[in-house]
Structure formats: C-alpha cells, structure tokens
C-alpha cells in the first residue's frame, strides 16, 4: 500500500490539475459563446446572399464564370480545418481520419492537402502526403482578414488551373454538444441555388431590372459568395473546436473529481491503518512492561 505521504501528494497534484481543466473549460465556454455569436450574426447575410444568387441566376439564365467551370482533370485540393491548440478531445484526430479516408477512397485522384491549423501541419509533416500549402495562427479566433487571404489563395489556385476541384473537410457546428465532420465542395461552385429556384416559381415570373447587367453583378457577387462559403466553414470549425474542448475539459474535470474522491478514501484508510498500528504498538509495549 502507498504511504500516507504519497497519497497526499497525489491528491494535491490531481487537485491542481482539476483546477486547470476547470479553468480551461470555462475559457472554452466563453470562447464558444463568442464563436456562436459570430455564426449567428453571420447566417442572415449568408442566407440573403444565397437568395439573391438564386434570383439572379433564374432571372438571367446561365451565366459563365470561372467559378462554375467543371473540369475533367483529377487534381483536387483538400482543405482541412484543424485547430492550433490541442486538448480538445478527438477534434483533430476525427478530421485527420476523415481526410485520410477521403484520400484512400479516391485513389484515382491526385490529391494535394491544404492545411489550416498547427495540429494538421504537425500531423502531416512526417507523413507521405502531398501538401500544397498551410495556414496557421487562427488560434481559435475568427479573423476575417485571414479568411479573405485563404479565399483569395484558393480561388487563385483554382482559376490558374493548378487544381480542378477544391473540397473542404471541417467540423460542422450543429449545437453546443453536437458536431459533425462535414465535406463541402468549394470550387467549382455547385449551382445549388438553381435547385432551390423551383420552389419559388412566383419569383421566376418576375422581371428584374439589373443595374448594370446580370453578368457584371454575378462577377461581383460570386467572389463575395466564395468568401461566405469559406467563412462559414471556418466559423463552424472554430465554434466546434471550442465546443469539443469544453466537453473534453468538462469530462477531465469530472474524472479528476472522481479520482480525488477515490484517493481521499485511500488516504483515510491509510491514516486509519497507521493509527491502528500505532495503538497496537503502544498497547503491546505497555503490556510488555506490565509483565
């Protein structure tokens, strides 16, 4: 059995760990709230933009734009959104597993990886994958400047013909305790807003005035839409990161609590055993004198 001193030491160590995980849980919760706000304040914009694109595309017919170009080539860029920091449970490993799976599922494609977040960079550094580029320093905070930078880089990559398709793998934020790894085809942009159009036939009948012509508006609107897509993926990923971290730290705190309970019990037992021992020694000592 462990000595009383050892047990006391361990209790203290576990207690301070518990304090740290508790704090991290609360920090993650605060950051999650912020990230959630970010998503919520952004959703109306994304939704309205989709509506506008729908109306625009149904009113103007088919529009040619490099973003829509479907190519035959097999070069794909897989963008992976991971975190910069660890201690967030299976958040990053789930992303890696899904990405590896994706690569394995498409042996005919020439897949290049685009890594977002330090964890992905470290993970793939020593592995045999083609890496196109990497971005870091999001550090769990949403930064529109960096999102813009990534979007510009990606559209450049696509338009120049270096890749024929860009796919995102990220963690979709469904609720504070529910996250799902999601895939999203970024470029070429799927004309999904055309499918929606059928539901609203009344608006199709409307004759729009365009100022300037629809093509020009499309050209201006599509880069914004591309930005919106990237922004959604990254905002979701950041919120999920904090969410997973909060859950992971919450269960770590709980485990530490249980461990402390267990150790306290052991400590009490050990204390009692030593008291009993001492008593026995005293009693038997006294008895030896009486003889």
């Amino acid at each position: 059995m462990q000595s009383l001193r050892d047990i006391r030491k361990r209790i203290r160590a576990v207690e301070s760990t518990k304090q740290i995980t508790k704090t991290m849980e609360m920090v993650a919760a605060a950051r999650l709230r912020k990230a959630q706000q970010q998503i919520e304040s952004f959703r109306p914009y994304a939704k309205k933009m989709q509506e506008m694109l729908t109306h625009l595309s149904e009113a103007s017919g088919s529009v040619e734009h490099p973003y829509f170009e479907q190519r035959e080539g097999n070069k794909v860029a897989l963008v992976m959104v991971s975190s910069d920091r660890g201690l967030c449970g299976s958040y990053n490993s789930n992303i890696f597993r899904r990405a590896n799976q994706w690569v394995a599922d498409h042996p005919d494609l020439d897949v290049g990886l685009l890594l977002v977040g330090k964890k992905a960079i470290n993970f793939y550094k020593r592995r045999d994958y083609k890496i196109l580029n990497s971005f870091k320093d999001f550090d769990g905070k949403f930064d529109i400047g960096k999102v813009r930078e990534i979007t510009n880089y990606l559209s450049e990559l696509f338009i120049s013909g270096d890749v024929d398709r860009i796919v995102f793998v990220y963690t979709a934020f469904l609720s504070t305790a529910n996250f799902k790894i999601a895939e999203m085809q970024f470029l070429p942009i799927k004309a999904e807003f055309e499918a929606e159009a059928e539901e609203e036939e009344s608006s199709a009948a409307r004759e729009y005035i365009f100022e300037p012509d629809p093509e020009t508006i499309f050209k201006q609107l599509l880069p914004s839409y591309a930005l919106v897509l990237v922004q959604m993926a990254i905002a979701d990923a950041i919120a999920s990161e904090h969410g997973t971290r909060m859950l992971a730290m919450g269960s770590a705190t709980k485990n530490a609590g249980e461990m402390i309970d267990h150790l306290t019990l052991q400590r009490n037992k050990a204390r009692q055993a030593s008291i009993t021992n001492e008593l026995l020694e005293i009693v038997s000592g006294a008895e030896a004198l009486n003889k």
Binding site: I144, F210, Q220
Partner: protein, 137 residues
C-alpha cells in the same frame, strides 16, 4: 411602406418597415419607394438614407454591396455598413490620414486599388459623420 433589411457579414444592421430608401447604386444614387419594380443592382461606397414609417430619417455608411428589391421587400447585402451616429469621428479621421499617407508613400509594394478603396471608404465615413452632426445642430 415596404420591408427593408440591411445585413453585413458582422450583423443585421436594420430590419423593419420603411417609407423610402436611397442607396448608392453603381451608376448613381437610386431612390426606392413602395411598389418599386423588381431590381438587382450592385452598390458602391456611399450613403444610405432610410425614412421609416414614423418619418424619421436614418443615415448609414456603406462600403460596397448589393441591393435587391422585389415584392415590396428590399435587401441590402453590404461588405460593411454602419449608422452614421455609430461612427467614431476621430477613428474615421485617423483611418483617412493613414489611407492618404499610404497612397503618398508611392513605394512599389502597396496594393494600389486596395489603398484607393480604403481612402474612399474613409472619406465617405468622415463626410457622413460631419453631415449628420450638422443636421442635428
């Protein structure tokens, strides 16, 4: 009366019924009243004027965006938008100074269109704040 919503990536700035709207279209300011014909246009940096159902006027600064009108619903998608009274004049002025300086630096490594845009945006904001201050006097 028609419904107006102004949204930017950061937030929903305005969502209510209004009497009229004036927005900076790409080829000049356009006024929207009730029962306007369906319209989609891009907007440039400038001033948005709203007159709500109580005849109260509001002024906002927008830097680029899009406007859609249909079915008595107007939607403005803005890259950035804020009400004039929310703008911090000293901050806007220092942004203007910075933009001017950057354009004057004349070194090869600046992104000229971007610097120009920044200057236009900063000018717009400063102008609107001053305008609103004068109106309230």
């Amino acid at each position: 009366m028609f419904k107006l919503s102004i949204v930017s990536p950061e937030r929903v700035l305005y969502e209510d019924d209004v009497e009229s709207l004036v927005a900076p279209g790409i080829d000049g300011y356009l006024g929207i009243l009730t029962n306007h014909a369906p319209l989609i246009t891009s907007l440039t940096t400038g001033k948005i004027e709203i007159r709500d159902v109580h005849k109260k006027e509001k002024i906002a600064a927008i830097s680029q965006g899009f406007l859609e009108v249909s079915n008595n619903t107007a939607t403005i998608l803005a890259d950035a938008v804020e009400f004039a009274e929310e703008i911090d004049l000293s901050r806007a002025e220092s942004a203007l100074d910075r933009a001017k300086k950057r354009l004057n630096m004349d070194s090869g490594d600046i992104d000229l269109p971007r610097a120009r845009n920044a200057l236009i945006r900063a000018k717009n904001r400063v102008r609107l704040v001053k305008q609103v201050k004068q109106m309230n006097r």
